[in-house]
Subunit: 210 residues, 2 copies
């Protein structure tokens, strides 16, 4: 026994936690010992909640976002514009954009981005279903809101080409200097982009005063 | 719904993870989304392992370390000296000392240290059971291996006084400059301690060459 764990039960639990991303053996042991100190009923709730999530979670039939119901709250919200779709990578981005309160259209969750290095191609993502939604005719504009990385750009371009035949507007979220950033410290690519994509000052001013 | 979580199942799971020490809402979401991407059977194993740990874990009847059996492997190991007891805070310290391969006695796991600020007093720890072990008469030396903090020192002193009537040797692990540390960067208290507790060079040399 070179593992030094005094108990197989303990070792198994540590190993399970250490499988989670960003959690090493030391943190895993800390988490497991914390759970051991809790009331049994609390640990039962912990395990049940995770199990229930995995077993009962649904994905919205329209936008593929995580949902408790067949058609998610956003897609079934009649007050939102169904002619505007924002394409995002995952549920995290939906949450981030919802937090801004700046978007009242619908989403389309790809479930990832094209990344040959991770073996993720277009067919692994919800791109065909996006095309179907566009084909159905109600959509006027698709906003691409993927990460500003090479993988994001590849995916943006792939989707753009796929949607070209349908004669709709395809836009991409603005890239530029972050609000609060000092110009001096902005990287040159971002700064260059923000100059190329400059907006009329009165437009920008109107946005601020809203 | 100001939470922005698209699903109650998701939100509950995130909240459960966020209860763990050192895990905030953002990390919790990342971990939960990771589990969602795994095969269901893997998530079942994860939840079951944790549940099983909490429900089936035992504590050694002698040393109070975590154990799968009534008397732990260390306490039932006949090749170890039962006249020497090392007092530690928790299972983590047992594992750390076992890793050194420098100790062949038994342990006594206190389950914490005296910390009035956290509401932990002597009666919350396995101190009475340590006294019982010493009273039984086989023990010749107790080594105190608690953290070199104020709480550790308080606990050391409390145990030392409790064990004084039994006429056994009570020792404390050496405190000094860590192996590999440069003197220049050692803090003055540690450096001072290491000078006061200097050991004959030939002794130290013999230890190195072993």
């Amino acid at each position: 026994m070179n593992s030094h764990y005094p108990s197989t039960l303990l070792e198994n639990a540590v190993n399970e936690f250490a499988k989670l991303p960003g959690i090493g053996k030391k943190s895993a042991l800390r988490l497991v010992l914390h759970l051991l100190r809790q009331d049994e009923e609390k640990v039962v709730t912990f395990a049940d909640t995770i199990l229930k999530l995995r077993q009962e979670i649904k994905y919205c039939a329209i936008c593929h976002n995580i949902s408790d119901i067949d058609i998610c709250e956003i897609c079934s919200d009649k007050s939102r514009s169904n002619s505007l779709i924002c394409v995002v990578e995952n549920v995290k981005e939906v949450m981030a954009i919802e937090k801004t309160d700046q978007f009242r259209g619908l989403y389309h969750v790809l479930g990832g981005i094209i990344s040959p290095i991770d073996g993720i191609g277009p067919s692994d993502l919800e791109i065909a279903s996006l095309e179907e939604r566009v084909k159905s005719g109600e959509i006027k504009e698709v906003i691409l809101a993927l990460s500003a990385t090479m993988e994001g750009d590849t995916t943006n371009f792939y989707i753009y080409r796929k949607l070209q035949p349908y004669n709709i507007k395809v836009s991409i979220i603005a890239r530029g200097v972050s609000i609060g950033d000092e110009i001096e410290y902005a990287d040159e690519v971002t700064l260059g982009r923000s100059i190329l994509n400059r907006t009329p000052f009165d437009e920008s001013f109107n946005q601020l005063s809203k």
